[in-house]
C-alpha cells in the first residue's frame, strides 16, 4: 500500500479471515500506458461495511468486476473468503449478492421469473423473502424487468441479491438510478440486513451522505491508486476544518505558514481570517497551534465525508501523496 494513507487502526484481517482481499491489483486496458488500477491493495474484514469511493473513471467498476471474477486482473490478485475470485468465481458467487451499476437482468423476464430462475441456481434460496422485499419496495413482481423504471430495476436487483442470504453483498454504485423514496427503501433494507445477519458489504457510491450513514471503513481511489484506506471514525477524527485569525503576519501571501505542524490539504484566506482543512488533526497539536503568537479565535470542526472526499480526491494534495 505504498501510496495509501492509513492510520493502521481497524487493521484489515489476515488473508483468509477477510471477506475481501485485494493484493497489488493492476488492471490495464489494451496498450494504454497508464493502468486503470495501479497496485491496489486492501481488505474488507468480515461483517464490516466498506465504501470504495472515487471520481468517475477512478477504476471502481474495474475493481468490482475483478472481485466478481468477471475480469482477469493484469497483475495482482482478488480473493473472496480466501479463494481467488477469477478461478473460483462460480462457487464463490453462491455466497455473494450483487447489485450492478446498470441492472442487467434479461429484460423479458419478470421479477417472479427471475426469482424462479435464481431458485434453480443457488443451493439455498429464500424465494419468499424476495417477494416480501418486492412488496415492501412496492415493485410489481409480474412486470417484465425491461419495462420497470431504473429505480425499480435496482430494487429488484437488491431483492434478488439478498434472496440467497449472501455472506457478502457487492453494490456497484446503485444509487444514481434511485429516486428519494427508493433510496430510503434501499438503505432501510440494507441496514436491516446488516442488523439481522451481519452481512459484509462492499459498495461503491457517489452518494456520500448515504455512505456516511452506513460505512465503517472507507477507501478512496484516485487516478487508479488507493490513496486512502481507513475506518470512517479515524478519518473523520483526523480530517478537521480549522478557522482562525492570523494577527501575526502582515503579508497575506505568507498565510498558512503557521500551519507547519499540520498537513494542510487546503488553505483559503477569507475576509474574517483563514480557513484550512488538515488531514492530521490532533487535540494536542491543535492546543499548541492555538497558543502560537498571533493566532486568534482558532476553532476546529469536523468535516462531512463529502468534504473529506473532495479534499482527497480533488486536486493534488498532500494527503494524496502519502504524507502524514
Amino acid at each position: 500500500m505504498s501510496a495509501t494513507l492509513s492510520t493502521g487502526s481497524a487493521a484489515p484481517g489476515a488473508l483468509g479471515s477477510s471477506a475481501v482481499d485485494v493484493r497489488r491489483l493492476v488492471v490495464r486496458y489494451g496498450e494504454n500506458p497508464k493502468p486503470t488500477l495501479q497496485e491496489v491493495s486492501f481488505s474488507v474484514p468480515r461483517g464490516s461495511v466498506y465504501a470504495l469511493l472515487g471520481r468517475i473513471g477512478a477504476g471502481k467498476s474495474s475493481l468490482v468486476r475483478c472481485l466478481l471474477g468477471q475480469q482477469k486482473p493484469t497483475a495482482g490478485s482478488c480473493a473472496l473468503f480466501g479463494e481467488g475470485a477469477w478461478k473460483n468465481r462460480a462457487r464463490l458467487m453462491a455466497r455473494v449478492g450483487v447489485v450492478p451499476e446498470d441492472p442487467d437482468a434479461p429484460p423479458a423476464m419478470t421479477g417472479r421469473q427471475l426469482a424462479a430462475l435464481c431458485s434453480r441456481l443457488y443451493p439455498a434460496w429464500g424465494g419468499g423473502s424476495v417477494f416480501d422485499r418486492l412488496r415492501r419496495f412496492d415493485v410489481p413482481a409480474d412486470i417484465a424487468f425491461g419495462s420497470l423504471s431504473k429505480s425499480q430495476k435496482t430494487l429488484v436487483s437488491l431483492a434478488l441479491a439478498l434472496g440467497s442470504s449472501p455472506d457478502l453483498l457487492i453494490l456497484d454504485d446503485p444509487m444514481p438510478g434511485l429516486d428519494a423514496v427508493a433510496r430510503a427503501a434501499f438503505f432501510d433494507e440494507l441496514v436491516g440486513e446488516l442488523a439481522d445477519r451481519g452481512t459484509t458489504v462492499l459498495f461503491t457510491s457517489h452518494d456520500l451522505a448515504g455512505v456516511e450513514k452506513m460505512a465503517d471503513r472507507v477507501g478512496i481511489l484516485k487516478g487508479g491508486k488507493l490513496v486512502l484506506d481507513e475506518s470512517l471514525d479515524d478519518l473523520k477524527g483526523r480530517f478537521q476544518r480549522l478557522r482562525y485569525r492570523n494577527e501575526g503576519m502582515e503579508d497575506p501571501a505568507s498565510y498558512g505558514q503557521e500551519l507547519s505542524a499540520f498537513d494542510a490539504v487546503k488553505v483559503k484566506v477569507r475576509g474574517w481570517g483563514i480557513e484550512a482543512v488538515v488531514s492530521n488533526y490532533g487535540d494536542e497539536s491543535f492546543a499548541r497551534f492555538r497558543a502560537l503568537e498571533g493566532i486568534g479565535d482558532a476553532e476546529a470542526s469536523a468535516l462531512s465525508l463529502e468534504e473529506i472526499f473532495a479534499a482527497v480526491a480533488g486536486e493534488a494534495s498532500p494527503a494524496a501523496h502519502g504524507k502524514k
Binding site: Y29, G30, R65, L68, G69, Q70, Q71, K72, R89, A90, R91, M93, A94, V96, V98, P100, D102, D104, A105, P106, A108, M109, Q113, L117, C118, R120, L121, Y122, P123
Partner: protein, 254 residues
C-alpha cells in the same frame, strides 16, 4: 449440467412465441391445393413448396439466434447477470447455445409437422430427393448446429468491435483459400466420399472456440473476442495443416 439446463430453459421460455409462429408458418402451405398451379400435383412442386417454411426456418433461425443469443448479451453487457450467479462459464455457454439449438430445431419440426402428418412420408421423400425422416433429422441437426455456431462466431467477430478483427480478416484471407485448395486436391484425388469429416471438424472447431471465448472472455468483450480469435485460428491452422498434408499425400507427394 443443472445450471446449463436452467439457462437453456430460460432462453426457450423467453422465446416461446417463436414456436407458435413456426407452427402457424407450417400451416400456411396446407392452403396450397387451393392454388390452381399446385392443384393435383402430388409428385412435383407441391411437396417441395409445402416444406418451404420448414426449410426457410432451418436456414434463418440458426443464423438469427446464433448471431444474437450469446453475442448480443456480451455486446450489450448483459452477460454479467449470469456471471454474478453460481454458474460456471461452461454452463452459461452450453445453456445459451443449447437454448438456441432447441429453439431452432423445435421450430423446424413444428413448421414441417403439419405437412408431414397430412402428406405423409412420401411427400417428405419427394421434397428432399429420397430422404427418410431419420436421414433428414441426421442432416438437419448438424446443419442447424453448424449454421448456429458459424453465425455466433461471425457475429462475435463483427459485433465485439475490437482490434482483433484485423487479424481475423488477415487470417481468413489466408486460411480459406488454403482449405479450399486442399479440398479441391482431395476431391480430384478421389476422396470425395469422405467429405463428411468437414462439417464434423468445423463443428468441433467452432464449439471449442466459442466455449473458450466465454470461459476466458466472460463479460469482457475485448478479451472475449481475443479468446475466440486465438482458439479459432489456432485450431483452423491445425486443421489446415492436416488437410494440406492429406492432400499432398494423396497426390503422391509421400
Amino acid at each position: 449440467m443443472r445450471g446449463a439446463l436452467a439457462v437453456a430453459a430460460r432462453e426457450i421460455a423467453e422465446r416461446k412465441l417463436v414456436f407458435f409462429g413456426a407452427f402457424v408458418a407450417g400451416l400456411l402451405p396446407l392452403g396450397l391445393p387451393l392454388v390452381p398451379a399446385f392443384r393435383g400435383d402430388a409428385h412435383g412442386a407441391r411437396p417441395m413448396a409445402m416444406l418451404l417454411p420448414a426449410a426457410a426456418i432451418a436456414a434463418a433461425f440458426p443464423i438469427f439466434f446464433g448471431a444474437t443469443i450469446l453475442v448480443g448479451d456480451i455486446a450489450q453487457k448483459r452477460l454479467g447477470f449470469y456471471f454474478s450467479r453460481p454458474l460456471s462459464a461452461a454452463s452459461i455457454w452450453a445453456g445459451k447455445l443449447l437454448g438456441a439449438l432447441l429453439i431452432s430445431v423445435g421450430c423446424v419440426l413444428l413448421a414441417g409437422a403439419p405437412v408431414f402428418f397430412l402428406e405423409g412420408e412420401r411427400a417428405l421423400s419427394l421434397a428432399t430427393g429420397g430422404l427418410d425422416p431419420r436421414g433428414l433429422a441426421a442432416l438437419t441437426l448438424p446443419g442447424v448446429l453448424l449454421l448456429l455456431l458459424f453465425a455466433h462466431v461471425v457475429a462475435s467477430l463483427a459485433r465485439l468491435r475490437s482490434a482483433w478483427i484485423v487479424l481475423d480478416l488477415l487470417l481468413a484471407a489466408f486460411f480459406v483459400p488454403a482449405i479450399a485448395l486442399s479440398l479441391r486436391s482431395l476431391f480430384f484425388a478421389g476422396l470425395r466420399g469422405s467429405f463428411w469429416f468437414l462439417p464434423v471438424a468445423l463443428i468441433a472447431i467452432l464449439l471449442a472456440a466459442s466455449c473458450v471465448q466465454i470461459i476466458d472472455g466472460r463479460t469482457d468483450a475485448r478479451r472475449s473476442h481475443g479468446a475466440l480469435s486465438v482458439t479459432l485460428w489456432a485450431l483452423i491452422a491445425v486443421f489446415t495443416a492436416i488437410l494440406g498434408g492429406l492432400a499432398w499425400w494423396r497426390a503422391g507427394g509421400g
